[in-house]
């Protein structure tokens, strides 16, 4: 069940190019391409063209001289992990990285040189003795080493850390981005972008912020520790052994009365759900059993029965004391205002506003009315000659009832309202109308018999 892709690190939408490379692609599946590269000693990487299923085996990696990573949406670059990791697995005899100094900062001697230190290790493709990189050709328990260029010091360990020690995890390791790819019982991890041997919901494109790369241990679901699906069909998932940082890492600035974003930093005392259901204490297992034990989630402040968000849900939540309602959100907690401070005011709808505020309520800079990017305006100066659509100032050319607005410089936000508020004392007249003739087209109709037929 093990995929040959497990031996590679994938760089998406990237192609490795080099002047010395001829573009020869064989049409095979990506797994077959990986298999071929694994069995060929000189192969260190491959470009895979997803459009043509073209496989280009490479003797080079991105660390080789005269190579270059080039963005190409049709390609993924797969490079052997041994060449990419800056940490070691086991005794590090498979290490093929590019560190060339010892742990006490002595420069390494080139392996093909016999001076200043004579030795019997001849470079070959199999032992990977190239340049003056740290290697472990004799399976030394101390890991990769090298002869030094200092005549008085023959050799030294390079002090390259084991992957499980190279990067520690804080809290529950949700932000762990290290290179451990085996579970604590030694099982190899399944690649996150594969659905075998275990089918799972954690597809990397659905979780862009979780760094679900290759088959490295991660914690996308706020478990106790980083984990992975295993390549053993009999074991779905297991925790990985990763060193804990001595410090608890950078703690979030906490909020008490309101919450920001998903409310992972909320530390207030709300203890009912939006609709008033009382919360269950986190240290209790009744009426609902759960795994969010306060002692296992030190950074999450699971105190009393307060609403918290220990798992990256949509908002603070809690288990409830109602037997038939396991958990519910505490949406009644107000969101902290994320609007910027206003700098000016307007009367009416602001259609006469001639001020110079040029940022939105979220603080995004306005786009010039005369510019065509990042948004192509449908409202521009020549259409509204009577409105002074100057520079990037907030205006209200279409008499928007919610006030002056502008196109923004953020491509994700076409337009937004500005950091201006109605002037004090400018009470808008009641605007609720009651039109006599209303006509609706192509909406709001349903087949009333549909559900009844089904129920029968």
């Amino acid at each position: 069940q093990r995929s040959p892709l497990n031996d590679f690190q994938r760089l998406k939408a990237t192609e490795l190019v080099s002047v010395s490379l001829q573009k020869e692609e064989k049409s095979v599946g990506v797994e077959e391409c990986a298999r071929q590269c694994t069995t060929i000693l000189h192969c260190r990487a491959f470009n895979y063209n997803w459009q043509s299923h073209g496989c280009q085996l490479l003797r080079l990696t991105q660390h080789s001289p005269q190579t270059q990573l080039q963005r190409n949406v049709h390609y993924d670059l797969y490079q052997k992990k041994a060449y990419m990791r800056n940490c070691i697995v086991g005794d590090g005899s498979s290490y093929r990285g590019t560190q060339s100094v010892t742990e006490d900062r002595k420069t390494c001697q080139h392996w093909h040189l016999k001076v200043p230190h004579d030795h019997r290790h001849s470079p070959s493709a199999r032992n990977g003795l190239e340049e003056n990189y740290c290697r472990n050709p004799d399976n030394d328990q101390g890991g990769p080493w090298c002869y030094t260029v200092d005549p008085k010091i023959r050799y030294r360990s390079c002090g390259i850390k084991k992957c499980e020690d190279a990067e520690c995890m804080s809290c529950n390791g949700e932000d762990y981005q290290g290179f451990v790819d085996h579970t604590e019982s030694g099982k190899e991890c399944q690649c996150w972008d594969l659905q075998f041997p275990h089918k799972h919901p954690y597809q990397p494109n659905k979780y862009p912020d979780k760094d679900l790369r290759d088959n490295y241990c991660r914690n996308p679901d706020s478990s106790e520790r980083p984990w992975c699906y295993t390549t053993d069909p009999a074991t779905q998932r297991e925790y990985c052994h990763i060193q804990k940082c001595t410090e608890n890492g950078l703690r979030l600035a906490t909020t008490t009365g309101c919450f920001r974003l998903k409310g992972e930093d909320y530390r207030g005392k709300a203890n009912t759900t939006s609709t008033g259901a009382p919360c269950q204490r986190w240290d209790s297992q009744t009426p609902h059993q759960h795994s969010f034990l306060p002692e296992k989630y030190e950074c999450k402040d699971l105190k009393e029965n307060y609403c918290r968000n220990p798992d990256g849900s949509e908002a603070p939540w809690c288990f409830t004391t109602l037997r038939n309602l396991r958990m519910a959100f505490c949406f009644q907690i107000k969101r902290c205002a994320d609007d910027v401070e206003v700098e000016d005011c307007y009367y009416g709808n602001g259609e006469e506003y001639q001020g110079t505020v040029s940022k939105t309520r979220k603080g995004i800079t306005c786009q010039k009315w005369s510019e065509q990017s990042p948004d192509k305006p449908q409202i521009f100066p020549t259409i509204f000659p009577t409105v002074r659509l100057e520079k990037n100032y907030c205006r209200n050319p279409d008499n928007d009832s919610h006030g002056p607005w502008c196109y923004t410089m953020d491509p994700r936000t076409q337009f937004d309202y500005c950091a201006i508020k109605p002037c004090a004392g400018d009470k808008k007249p009641s605007i609720l109308l009651n039109p006599d003739n209303i006509v609706f087209e192509h909406c709001g109709r349903r087949d009333e018999r549909l559900y009844n037929r089904r129920s029968r």
């Binding site: 919901p201 939006s274 949509e314 519910a328 609007d339 979220k362 909406c443 129920s455």
Partner: protein, 228 residues
């Protein structure tokens, strides 16, 4: 929905997180646009990759081969005017309309729904023992005059709120229904007059229920659909 019945609301959509779990409701106003509430989302430029809108099914957890279910990824979120607490969700592709997936009408700008107008709320939220937790439920409510509502709620309402009449038995929205529609019948068409907003007690007896009055934001809704 508390005190409702299993029913058909082809414009009510289920909003799902990356694990496919329902967490809020919404209303389909155009093939590629859904309206919901701000409280359901982390920010106005949240990365919603992996989040989906499910339409066309009556079931909260439909089987994998449910032929009626459409699952459409959410492309982007746009927040409404600050006091509105509304959001619009643009879908990655248009929903396919059929008898199980329909558009709800938008009210005319600034329109006041007449008192006593028949309305419905719909959702896959909690029933608290009053129904089948796996089915879409619908409950009937009637519009209440704003002045009377203000008195009943001792002033705790805004002009941008819409009230429905209190009932002596508990009927109303509950956990998981937030963001869903208050659809009212006008000239034989169902119109999105309100959006179910959080921070309300589930189906409180003898108290009016509050919704965001959509007619005040129709100009914004049309502008977003036109410009985005």
């Amino acid at each position: 929905i508390i005190g409702g019945h299993i029913g058909n609301s082809p414009w009510t959509v289920s909003i799902r997180n990356r694990k496919g779990i329902h967490f809020c409701g919404g209303s389909l106003v155009k093939e590629q646009w859904v309206i919901s509430t701000r409280q359901c989302f982390s920010s106005c430029d949240a990365d919603l990759s992996g989040y989906e809108v499910w339409l066309g099914t009556l079931f909260k957890n439909p089987g994998p081969n449910d032929p009626d279910k459409q699952a459409i990824p959410i492309l982007k979120i746009v927040c409404g005017p600050s006091e509105s607490l509304l959001v619009m969700l643009k879908l990655e592709r248009p929903a396919v309309l059929n008898p199980r997936v329909e558009l709800i009408c938008l009210p005319p700008e600034q329109y006041i729904v007449p008192e006593n107008t028949k309305c419905e709320i719909a959702g896959w939220g909690e029933t608290r023992g009053t129904g089948n937790e796996n089915m879409l439920h619908v409950a009937e409510l009637h519009v209440m005059n704003n002045q009377e509502c203000k008195v009943a709620l001792r002033g705790r309402m805004k002009e941008s709120d819409l009230c429905t009449q209190p009932l002596q038995i508990g009927v109303g929205a509950c956990e998981g229904d937030f963001g869903g529609p208050l659809a009212c019948l006008t000239h034989d068409c169902w119109v999105l007059e309100g959006v179910i907003t959080p921070s309300r007690v589930c189906a409180r007896k003898d108290k009016p229920a509050l919704f965001t009055r959509v007619s005040l934001y129709v100009d914004w809704i049309n502008k977003v659909m036109k410009l985005s």
